[in-house]
């Protein structure tokens, strides 16, 4: 590592010296040059600019250094005169890649000479002697002819540096003595520099993209890991520890992950399966302590389509599962509630049939009781089905109101009167306090339904005491507020917030006082559709409760 850094520093110094030299010599020459020379120089500059543009375009998004050097050498074209153009790359493994393009026919010796000069130069730059065991050599272009005795008479080597790293060496060689001066070196230097800059920028862009990608993976709520083909962990995000419940603050290893899932699922087998099948493998539900996870292993491929490893996503489905459970409980509850009145209807009909066909003759008083039972059960069921339909409409946003101007005082009194017989049975007094008249726009049937729900609930949950129904105008908030206060069983603090929600209400509800809680859900839907609010207050269990709803004035 230290040696490498030293080499890079050495090389940068060398590049600086070369650049400084080229710059000073060009300045000198410019001064001496005639006007004709200047126009030729201009022409060359235009051409050089074109070549640079072409190189930039051709490099595109390639980061393959070999390819880049290829592009540079093949772009030199008419810009420089040469018999061969070559480049050499020393790979980390010690292998040397040597490519030579023969523009004009030369001998094998000529090419060998170029190669030796490049090896020497490469070694000088790296400050080490290069004795390659393997040379990956390729020669393209014109055929070689050993009858030509011409040797390398002029040449120059130019290092290619990308992001401060030496990636190769370019050589141009000619059989003509003294062909290359600073000017030619300068052209090639400019071109390689430009190409190197383009690649550096590209690398920077890719690094930043990689950084963005890493940031996204890092911030995901799902646990994400990637592994290589040897099952070594290459990437993981913090969510992995949370999701898998790994407490360690040490660097994660694949062992930690396999260990945390031990006995539940074999991650390695799933990874191997995904790689073998070439497609994602999902384990829909892995129960891990108090969490439910969905695990998906998928193969990861490179640009060329080769599998280089796999990714595994651990998706926490605990919330989804609990929602699913609540939904199932709701359905089970509804089925139960619908079966109860049906059972009563069925059994009553059965008993009625028996009574009608009894040998001893029909008992009319019993017959009447049975019919009353059937009627009550049918009404209960109808109410339940209507509530369910209303809830469905509210949830689908298809709740329609028939809004007209009515006197709310009249409606409140009407509803209070309707419940008097029920309240009388339980010896509950209903007190109503209202202004003499309060006209506003609302749906008479629907608000009647809300009042009916709230009053019947209050009676249902109150065994002694009284009901106070109050209607008042709140001019500050431009609303009317209806309250129904009872002295009943009250509502616990934690239940207050859940009273008006579809699924929560049903939990632990008191089945002595039959009800699904759907009435309150429907009431909320109706009040909110009017632009009003509905809420409840209670000092606690057995301390009574007050239900409120408000309707906006001037609507």
């Amino acid at each position: 590592m230290i040696i490498n850094i030293l080499l890079v520093i050495d090389f940068i110094m060398l590049a600086v010296v070369v650049a400084a030299y080229l710059y000073s010599s060009m300045k000198e020459r410019k001064y001496l040059r005639s006007e004709a020379d200047q126009s030729l120089e201009l022409q060359q500059k235009v051409y050089q600019a074109q070549v640079l543009k072409e190189i930039n375009e051709r490099i595109g998004y390639s980061l393959d250094t070999g390819k880049i050097v290829d592009i540079i050498t093949s772009s030199l074209g008419n810009l420089l005169e040469y018999d061969t153009v070559s480049y050499m790359v020393l790979e980390d493994s010690g292998k040397v890649i040597f490519k030579c393009h023969v523009e004009n026919t030369v001998s094998h010796n000529f090419v060998d000479e170029v190669k030796q000069k490049m090896l020497l130069s490469y070694g000088a730059i790296l400050n080490q002697r290069i004795e390659p065991k393997i040379i990956d050599e390729s020669i393209t272009g014109n055929i070689l002819d050993d009858s030509i005795k011409a040797e390398v008479e002029s040449f120059f080597n130019l290092p290619v540096v990308i992001s401060g790293k030496l990636v190769g060496l370019i050589n141009v060689a000619s059989v003509v003595r003294g062909r290359y001066g600073e000017e030619q070196a300068s052209i090639l230097y400019t071109i390689t520099n430009q190409a190197a800059t383009a690649v550096s920028k590209l690398q920077a862009v890719l690094e930043s993209e990689k950084g963005k990608l890493a940031a996204i993976i890092y911030s995901l709520a799902d646990g994400v890991i990637t592994v290589d083909l040897n099952h070594q962990l290459t990437v993981y995000n913090p969510a992995v520890k949370t999701v898998l419940g790994i407490a360690s603050d040490q660097t994660l290893t694949m062992f930690d992950i396999v260990d945390s899932l031990a006995g539940k699922v074999d991650v390695r087998t799933k990874i191997e399966q995904a790689i073998a099948e070439g497609k994602p493998v999902t384990v829909p539900e892995v129960m891990l302590k108090d969490r439910a996870l969905e695990l998906t292993a998928a193969p990861v491929k490179d640009n060329a389509g080769r599998t280089i490893g796999a990714s595994v996503v651990f998706h926490d489905i605990t919330t989804e599962k609990s929602l699913e459970k609540v939904r199932q409980e709701f359905t089970a509850m509804m089925v139960h509630e619908l079966r109860a009145p049906l059972t009563a209807v069925r059994w009553s009909s059965e008993s009625m049939l028996k009574n009608l066909s009894a040998a001893a003759g029909t008992d009319p008083s019993k017959l009447k009781d049975t019919v009353v039972t059937i009627e009550t059960a049918s009404n209960n069921m109808l109410e339940l089905v209507n509530d369910l339909l209303d809830v469905a409409k509210i949830e689908a946003g298809k709740f329609e109101l028939n809004v007209q101007e009515y006197d709310l005082v009249e409606l409140v009194n009407e509803q209070a009167r309707a419940f008097k017989p029920q309240a009388d049975i339980k010896h509950l007094a209903i007190n109503v306090t209202t202004p003499s008249k309060l006209v506003l726009k609302f749906d008479r049937v629907r608000i009647g339904q809300v009042l009916s729900n709230l009053i019947s609930n209050s009676i249902k949950y109150t065994d002694s005491g009284e009901l106070d129904i109050n209607l008042s105008e709140n001019s500050e908030q431009k609303a009317v507020v209806v309250s129904i206060k009872d002295t009943g069983i009250g509502v616990s603090r934690e239940d207050l917030s859940q009273l008006f929600s579809k699924f929560k209400q049903l939990k632990g509800s008191d089945h002595a006082r039959k009800g699904t809680g759907l009435g309150l859900v429907v009431s909320r839907g109706i009040v909110e559709a009017h632009g009003g609010k509905i809420w409840a207050e209670s000092a606690g269990e057995n301390l009574g409760s007050t239900f409120y709803f408000s309707l906006p004035l001037g609507k």
Partner: protein, 127 residues
């Protein structure tokens, strides 16, 4: 006349079934919540209990556990009558030691009466 305790909070269902039990030659007593059911069973020691699951104060499964925990009531046959049909509940009912389990809406009253007779007969034979 065999004494039957009927634990059922739905007054309509309880009424229909009580009538049918009387007509079938039994002596039914109604309880409308779980606590009342446990108290009445311990007091009267019926020949058989018809037990609903969803009841106020104490649910049917808890009633069943209480009855099975008391040597005086442990041997009384209990037929669970419910409208809950999910597997979880059924397995809990079986685990708690119910003699049989019937889904209310699936049965006619006659079928229930017949079941009561069958269970009583078997119990007598075993006894």
């Amino acid at each position: 006349m065999a004494k039957i305790l009927l634990a059922e909070d739905d007054k309509l269902i309880s009424g229909s079934l009580c009538d049918a039990l009387k007509a079938g030659g039994f002596e039914p007593t109604a309880a409308y919540d779980g606590e009342e059911a446990v108290a009445k069973v311990k007091e009267m020691i019926p020949d058989l209990v018809l037990l609903d699951i969803m009841m106020p104060k104490l649910d049917g499964i808890s009633v069943l556990w209480e009855l099975k925990a008391d040597p005086n009531t442990a041997k009384i046959p209990v037929i669970v009558l419910t409208n809950i049909g999910d597997v979880d509940t059924i397995s809990k009912i079986v685990e708690a030691g119910a003699t049989d389990y019937l889904l209310k809406s699936d049965q006619s009253v006659d079928e229930i009466i017949q079941k009561v007779k069958d269970v009583l007969q078997r119990t007598v034979k075993l006894g």
